[in-house]
């Protein structure tokens, strides 16, 4: 979120925007860390750590509230227009996407607790591998989105949008892969639902990352991309 041109004549406005910016950056880092931590608890079969991850989510919630407060204040005091206005509106949406992404990470941590505290047999490492790779993928999406947020590089946003397109294909192949596991060993059925829910959470996580990329396009170009096909978006950006 760099500001092109010189700063505002009201330097306090710039300060407030910077504060907002740093909240968003922190939330982005936190969401990615939560995801990584959650996946790691799954990998290490460490329910203790999983509880920590779940507790840490409150930090994201708090930042979300802080950001909303700050946005309300800025709108009331500065009456932003044009790019400032778009930025404020988009940031308001980005923080709620990040907060929800954090919720999805929490669900993964919840998976660890269910697998390793319950009486049932935890799923084999092989089955979980799909979750790891998907988590890695959506994590990359979000971190790419967040780095784009720093320099408002639309190329980066388009990249994330493309990754979002591929996410669907990936999901299909993962589900197919999973079904082969069930066919191999029917004992896996017990964990199957949980794993699908985990995959679903990760998919949502990726969706939030994609949304954030869309908001960044809105900041940069003032076009709303949420309900358009990615190809159409790319076209309209290139037109400008």
């Amino acid at each position: 979120m760099t500001i092109q041109g010189e700063g505002h004549i009201f330097t306090r406005f710039d300060d407030e925007m910077k504060e907002l910016h740093s909240i968003v950056v922190e939330m982005g880092k936190l969401a990615i860390r939560q995801l990584n931590d959650a996946v790691e608890t799954l990998h290490r079969e460490d329910p203790e750590k999983a509880y920590d991850v779940i507790n840490n989510d409150s930090r994201l919630n708090q930042l979300d509230i802080d950001a909303d407060d700050l946005i309300t204040t800025i709108i009331a005091k500065r009456a932003p227009v044009a790019k400032d206005l778009r930025e404020i509106i988009a940031v308001g949406k980005i923080v709620s996407d990040l907060e929800r992404a954090g919720d999805e990470a929490r669900k993964i941590a919840g998976l660890t607790i269910r697998f390793h505290e319950g009486a049932s047999r935890p799923p084999s490492e092989e089955i979980l591998r799909d979750i790891y790779s998907l988590a890695e993928y959506v994590g990359r999406m979000l971190s790419r989105s967040m780095s784009t947020f720093d320099d408002l590089d639309v190329e980066g946003a388009l990249e994330v949008l493309h990754m979002g397109l591929k996410l669907d294909d990936q999901l299909q192949s993962i589900l197919r892969h999973l079904s082969t596991f069930i066919m191999e060993d029917s004992r896996n059925v017990g964990n199957f639902v949980d794993i699908v829910l985990g995959i679903r959470a990760l998919e949502r996580f990726g969706g939030h990352a994609k949304n954030i990329a869309g908001h960044l396009v809105f900041i940069k170009h003032g076009i709303d991309v949420r309900h358009e096909g990615t190809n159409a978006i790319i076209e309209s950006i290139q037109k400008q």
Binding site: Q4, G5, G7, K83, R86
Partner: protein
């Protein structure tokens, strides 16, 4: 954020406009249904050029707001539209300005008639030092628009009602107009302008001397007047431009940088200078 680098960004943008003789206004200069059309208007004060090649339409039944930093020529341009600049000896206007297709700088155009058709409201409320009634009736009498006193009474009442002032002054029509509050005085000036049923009303920073409540009343009034008149308003308040206008024109150092629907200008302006100005980054 590197201050020097960013400074050069905006000065580059400015150079692109100011030092470029072939600069073309960004956005749509035409209105769907134009009451006035201005093409390639240049204004000189002696040797100094104040307006460079400005082309823009004043749309019928719409408010066009002209914004820009001080000295950008927006008031000068507004005053070309009813030839108010004629009163300044050294001022020369060239280009083509038409009111309903008639060239207003043509020899055949009578300046008195033009000013009856293009009314003006000024920055400082300037009621005549006469009664409220006479203020409104002055132009009507001057142009002989009514025959009987009853007709005149009716025009005065109607104009004051349109200006939203009737309820406040109906019991003191014979009191001096200068005794009203600033906001009331400005609405009186608007009533005076609409009493002669102009086609276009020009407003030169009409609220700059008023408090927020009086300003709000005038803005509400402007919005209502739009139904019957075409209005061009110069304002220093970008929020005001955003509130009252349908189209916004951004002037910078005598050039018209960008014109477009107000909704677009204030959410996603095209030109970097417009963006910088309305977001409060320079000016």
């Amino acid at each position: 954020m590197n201050q020097e680098a960013s400074n050069s960004t905006s000065s580059l943008l400015e150079k692109d406009v100011v030092d470029n003789p072939d600069f073309v206004t960004v956005g749509t200069i035409t209105a769907d249904d134009a009451a006035m059309t201005c093409r390639n208007v240049d204004v000189h004060y002696g040797d100094k050029q104040a307006i460079y090649n400005v082309s823009v339409d004043i749309g019928r039944n719409e408010v066009i707001a002209m914004i820009g930093p001080s000295g950008c020529g927006k008031s000068t341009f507004l005053r070309c539209l009813n030839r108010m600049n004629d009163t300044i000896d050294i001022c020369r206007v060239s280009g083509d300005i038409r009111l309903e297709g008639e060239d207003i700088y043509d020899r055949a155009m009578d300046i008195v008639l033009l000013r009856a058709r293009v009314g003006m409201v000024f920055q400082k409320p300037n009621p005549f030092p006469k009664s409220v009634y006479d203020n409104v009736a002055y132009g009507v009498r001057l142009h002989g628009l009514t025959k009987t006193r009853a007709e005149l009474d009716e025009v005065v009442e109607k104009s004051l009602k349109k200006a939203g002032l009737w309820n406040e002054v109906s019991d003191r029509l014979d009191k001096p107009g200068t005794g009203l509050s600033g906001g009331q005085q400005q609405r009186l000036c608007i009533a005076r302008a609409i009493a002669i049923s102009p086609e276009v009303i020009l407003m030169d920073e009409p609220c700059s001397a008023l408090d927020p409540i009086a300003t709000a009343k005038i803005e509400e009034l402007i919005d209502e007047l739009r139904e019957q008149y075409s209005i061009a308003i110069v304002t220093h308040s970008m929020q005001q431009a955003a509130r009252v206008s349908q189209r916004t024109a951004y002037f910078h150092l005598g050039k018209l940088v960008e014109v477009g629907p107000t909704d677009d200008i204030f959410t996603k302006p095209t030109h970097g200078l417009t963006e910088g100005y309305i977001t409060g980054r320079f000016g």
